[in-house]
């Protein structure tokens, strides 16, 4: 597997301009002859599909929901970063770049991150022009807040529904192109395989989730914007149907998978209440601006929060990280919560929870001020837990939230398969080993609006349009493989439901490849997943037919992929013998703080498929830090 990152020449701030100039252009009259398949309609997919269509390409776009507007991006709450420096508080493109490289614990590619910071400002302009109703001040100008471990206020937001509003903006742009017949939209359609012809991505195999029909689509290039794989843990803050299928099956067709073990665990989620739980709800991290996190100093203190006097409370983030306090980055805040729970100081019935307390800010600012800022979140919390967060502290606990790993891409967002581009959370992205708050929306939209429209042209310019017809034998072969898998899943008729297997996998992943990992645990996890996978193929029970809506069948395919992907994730975690960002190896720490090994691991790990996950081969893309110098990441 050849890994050419194609980082352009020049100083860091000139690289993107240089690249744009170098890229070959497709003649405007020829654009309509090319067809691009965009899989996914979240922020990355909708923005890519709309922008490519505006340029004149024919676009087909796919999503598994009943409408492109329902993609998981809709759920993002807190905000989107942009280096506008509207606050005059010292922000700049360079500072956003610096913060992102450092926040990612020096495991991201500098050139990509700088481009992201540059493009961040255009995103806000674009969104406002589309009618995205960002929060405003009385002057009529845009409001900002500080978010997720940043010391400047660069986050734009639309109450607690920023993802919704941004997605509706991108969806409206996409809808306009659908109306103009420049995009053909295929909702309730799931991509189940990638068609590769002579080493190039030239089509996909899909299942129509309503009729069950399995068919193919041919294109001159394929863009995957299929989101993250957090649901490999079963319980996460992601939507229930998020999955790894599109990227995993592309991986099996030759696309390198980068850093699967980099998963982000978000510190502020509502704790698990019982075995029936199907998903975890995020409480936006913006709450940490006014809430204080604490646990009792004494072990097993079962008193009510209000009965615990101040001197018996441990505001552990404020104590350990005096300069960042409650705003310490996610990976650090999550680990600190786990530590105090491990010490037996967790709160709530299960002992797996810490307090997020608004008492002091309510006293200081008044209940109304707090309600104006966080009313919808408090309401959501009360609905789920039946507790009133104005009068007693919230209970929160870390939960799987975001996945920094994904398909490996070069600077042009092209995977190791020529013609296969990957955008948004689905690629291994710009976040290194840890993503800063409000940066995923930024990345998805930068990729879709401003990167792919340029870089895909560079590829297409070298391709003859419509060169590979759907009648090519590779299409038939890929279809047959998908049909065969469907038949196999329906034929087992074992005893255990798909959900049952998914939950079992989630438990293995969370306990052994979750917040803290070690050699022995990971080896055990790999063995356990292999056993579970064998059992799945022997004993799974999928009822119903294939020529109709069959949600068990849909899930079965996704869980089958997770059962392979989970093993690779554990292998990746095992091989990365250091701690960095969201990847914490117990063997590499300084009294609880992550300890990187730059000498041996300052690289991207890229996995090549060779059959079984245990046979996958690990390659490396070395990372160079020429602008932000390697340093211990400290928030003390």
């Amino acid at each position: 597997m050849k890994l050419d990152s194609k980082i352009p020449d020049g100083a860091i701030h000139e690289k993107w301009s240089n690249r744009k100039f170098e890229l070959k252009l497709v003649n405007p009259a020829n654009k309509r002859k090319y067809k691009v398949l965009v899989v996914g309609s979240g922020l990355a997919g909708s923005s890519a599909a709309a922008s490519l269509a505006e340029l004149g390409y024919q676009v087909e776009c796919f999503c598994f929901q009943d409408s492109p507007r329902r993609a998981h991006s809709i759920a993002a709450q807190g905000g989107i970063n942009a280096a506008k420096n509207y606050r005059n508080d010292g922000d700049s493109v360079y500072r956003l770049f610096y913060d992102t490289v450092k926040g990612g614990d020096f495991r991201a590619r500098e050139a990509n991150v700088h481009r992201l910071a540059e493009l961040s400002v255009n995103i806000i302009d674009q969104a406002v022009a589309q009618g995205v109703p960002f929060a405003r001040e009385y002057s009529g100008l845009l409001d900002n807040r500080s978010f997720g471990g940043a010391q400047v206020s660069r986050t734009f937001y639309a109450r607690g529904q920023t993802g919704q509003q941004l997605l509706l903006g991108a969806y409206s742009a996409l809808s306009r192109q659908i109306g103009l017949k420049q995009v053909k939209m295929f909702p309730r359609t799931e991509m189940l395989d990638l068609v590769v012809v002579d080493g190039h991505a030239k089509g996909i195999v899909v299942r129509d989730l309503v009729t069950g029909e399995i068919r193919t689509h041919a294109g001159d290039a394929v863009v995957l914007a299929t989101g993250g794989y957090g649901t490999v843990f079963y319980l996460s803050t992601n939507a229930m149907n998020c999955n790894v299928t599109a990227t995993w099956r592309s991986h099996k067709r030759g696309a390198g998978f980068a850093n699967p073990c980099y998963t982000q665990i978000h510190p502020t989620c509502i704790p698990v209440s019982g075995d029936h739980q199907s998903k975890l709800t995020l409480m936006s991290e913006s709450l940490r601006n006014d809430g204080r996190i604490w646990v009792p100093t004494k072990k097993g203190d079962k008193r009510k929060a209000a009965e615990i006097p101040d001197n018996e409370r441990d505001y552990y983030l404020e104590r350990k990280y005096p300069s960042f306090g409650n705003l310490a980055p996610r990976d650090i805040a999550s680990r600190a919560a786990m530590q105090v729970c491990d010490e037996g100081r967790g709160v709530g019935d299960t002992g797996l929870g810490v307090y997020l307390d608004f008492r002091d800010s309510i006293q200081r600012l008044g209940k109304d001020a707090i309600a104006a800022k966080y009313g919808n979140l408090f309401h959501m919390y009360a609905k789920i837990t039946a507790e009133d967060p104005y009068s007693q502290p919230m209970r929160i606990f870390p939960a799987v939230h975001y996945t920094m790993g994904g398909l490996w891409v070069d600077y042009d967002l092209q995977s190791t398969i020529p013609g296969l581009f990957v955008c948004g959370e689905a690629n291994f992205s710009d976040h290194g080993a840890n993503r800063l708050g409000a940066s995923a929306l930024m990345q998805g939209l930068a990729d879709g609006y401003f990167v792919i429209p340029y870089t895909i042209g560079g590829y297409l310019a070298g391709q003859k349009p419509g060169a590979v017809p759907q009648s090519h034998p590779e299409f038939g072969k890929a279809t047959a493989a998908v049909q065969e898998m469907t038949k196999r899943l329906l034929g087992i008729q074992g005893k255990r439901s798909v959900d049952d297997f998914h939950k079992a996998l989630g438990k293995i992943m969370w306990s052994k490849c979750g917040m803290a990992r070690n050699e022995k645990g990971l080896q055990q996890a790999i063995a356990d997943i292999q056993t579970l996978r064998a059992e799945f193929w022997r004993d799974v029970k999928v009822l119903g037919g294939d020529a109709t809506v069959n949600q068990s069948l849909e899930k079965a395919g996704r869980v089958a992929d997770f059962l392979e992907f989970g093993e690779l994730t554990c292998r990746d975690a095992l091989e990365r013998r250091e701690s960095c960002g969201g990847h914490f190896r117990e063997e590499w720490q300084d009294a609880g703080e992550a300890k990187r090994d730059d000498e041996n691991f300052c690289h991207v790990a890229v996995w090549e498929h060779k059959g079984e996950p245990r046979q996958a081969v690990r390659h490396q893309e070395p990372l160079a830090f020429e602008n932000v110098h390697l340093a211990v990441r400290s928030y003390k």
């Binding site: 009943d66 998981h72 302009d125 406002v128 919704q164 809808s175 439901s497 009822l543 809506v549």
Partner: protein, 265 residues
Amino acid sequence: MKLTLHIWRQQKRSTKDNFAQDGKMVRYELDHVSPDMSFLEMLDVLNEQLTRKGEEPVVFDHDCREGICGSCSLMINGEAHGPQSGTTTCQLHMRSFQDGAEIWIEPWRAAAFPVIKDLMVDRSAFDRIVQAGAFISVNTGAPQDANAIPVPKADADKAFDAATCIGCGACVAACKNASAMLFVGAKVSHFVHLPQGRVERETRARKLVAQMDAEGFGNCTNQYECEAACPKDIPVRVIAEMNREFVRAKAVEEPPSKKRVGGDG
């Protein structure tokens, strides 16, 4: 908790002439339901039980399970999204029901929303309405600086309130005329409160209304059931705004000589 459920089961997709097809209410008994479960988690438990018995699980749309994607869409005891106001089905918890309760669960029922299977309906009519004109015609890369046009906070807030619609369709399901006015009104209202959105206000109002009619949604007779059912509390004022916009658009359609100059911006 112990529950008796009556659930609409339908194998064949609704057609214009045969909406109910082979559909019927089927009774299920469910035990060991925890009050902390969400309504959809309760259905997960039922589906797990059905699967074990070899019966096909109940089909229903869902995804985010936190009230924002607009996928979930159940009529619960005759109420769209169930008994709690300002709540989607997925945000409803079993503690809202009594132990021993009987619960009737049906799909949205509206001619413009054919049933696909069991509790899953086809809401693509909403997408087609949006495609007809619920957007600002701006290409990627064209805009000026985001702060170039200040928008009074009150206007931005009004636009936002309308823009929070999740496109779930409860308003249509709750309306005896199956009208989509709340949904379409929310779109119109969102754009008309923003300077960027006012440029195309006439064409937008005309096109959205035309598409809404073409999809077979009913008329509004001011019953306000939509507002009561809406999980995002979209106010009925948006319907009045939409009517106003539509009338205004018609006025602008008049021959050029009579055309108003300027307008009420």
